[in-house]
Symmetry: C2
Subunit: 212 residues, 2 copies
DNA sequence: TAGATTGTTAATCGATTAACAATC
DNA sequence: TAGATTGTTAATCGATTAACAATC
């Protein structure tokens, strides 16, 4: 099976967003050059990326509505994915409250926490359950995707529990490299690292200005 | 000035987290090989990364506490950065509630929204102010960093306002490529893209299993 | 000393950019 | 037709990995 690379996949939601906006405005076609300008990447790269999901029309460009549909299929945005979230700290709570995932096919159906005091609370219409009930529910509901937002000290341990219950895709927000069996997919997200990067650039800039 | 690359900077918070945990357990030294295993990256790369922030000791490894301190300095984690957040939708609200940024030197001091109904509300001890008051406050408090969590249709417009008021670093959560003057730093964060990537891998895996 | 580990150079790999023939 | 735009190959760039001399 041809497999597109991670860089391309991570740009697809971006294409999607732009093409969707165009579609709504009734635009029918767009050239790689046009997308290039909006995305800030080379037109060659746009053509290479879109070659995976669409066939362009010479002299005209890419057909907006069908490209949108194809990206949706490609990313599995249609068949909604039910997921469990584990760890209702400030970040977990934040993600529970975020409504933007729905469009990408992500539906958080339950949240879990080890803290007795949190169990029973309801956040954004989702009741918090004890982690002890996680394995049974994963099996019963055939959940495949888990969002991991526990403190990093608990991350590996919690991931082990998720995996042994049958979860095969983990969206990991703890700043830890998880060790998982072959075949289990892990995607690491690190908000703090994102900020660190911005801040580093800023400090560099300010230093340059003041010094010499 | 020597400048370390973005890939290295984005790994530094990860090193930091691990080294901090070691420091707390009283560990004095760690080898590149040891870090390599924990991070899941090559030991060569660890040595190259750490060459920017520390000097290793032959036969012994890297001194944990001093490396921690050096990373903190490098990322500007000490001198706390005050920032404004603009756009109190579900994501903005989520970030306001997240307490994990403090350690990385990020302090959100005020939040803004265009929606009259939201103005005056208090979220996580931060009062929501009208966007119209943003420019004056940026100037008065000398704010340099802005977190942009408005709908993507408003993103460019809002960014323009921020920049003209004096903000020079934008942490952009809207899935849009912002056009900003030279010298303004933009860091794009796209949570949906992160999920899309995980989901793509999962779909691929499930398809492989069932198909053929 | 012998062995372990760093720091760095060279080789490899993968992704982006440039160039251009094909063609509608 | 002439011009614009795709799809693709080749060139470039940057980051990771491998190898190894230096050395504590």
């Amino acid at each position: 099976m041809r497999t597109l690379n991670a860089a391309t996949v991570s740009r697809l939601p971006h294409y999607y967003q732009i093409l969707r906006a165009m579609e709504q405005r009734g635009r029918e076609y767009v050239s790689s050059e046009g997308l290039s300008r909006l995305l800030g990447i080379d037109a060659s790269l746009v053509r290479k990326d879109l070659a995976w999901v669409a066939t362009g029309v010479q002299k005209v460009g890419y057909h907006v509505p069908s490209t949108v549909t194809k990206i949706q299929e490609m990313l599995g945005m249609n068949n909604s994915k039910e997921a469990f979230l584990v760890g209702v700290g400030s970040l977990g709570r934040a993600l529970l409250g975020y409504t933007g995932f729905g469009e990408y096919g992500l539906k958080i159906v339950a949240a879990f926490d080890a803290d007795e005091a949190k169990v029973g609370q309801v956040i954004s219409d989702i009741e918090i359950l004890p982690v002890s009930s996680l394995p049974a529910l994963v099996r019963r509901l055939h959940i495949k995707t888990g969002i991991l937002t526990v403190p990093y000290t608990e991350a590996q341990h919690t991931a082990d529990q998720m995996v042994s219950a049958g979860i095969v895709a983990i969206w990991n927000f703890a700043p830890v490299t998880l060790t998982v069996p072959d075949g289990v997919i892990v995607r690491n997200e690190n908000l703090a690292a994102g900020f660190a990067l911005l801040n580093y650039e800023l400090e560099k800039k300010l230093k340059n200005r003041s010094g010499r």
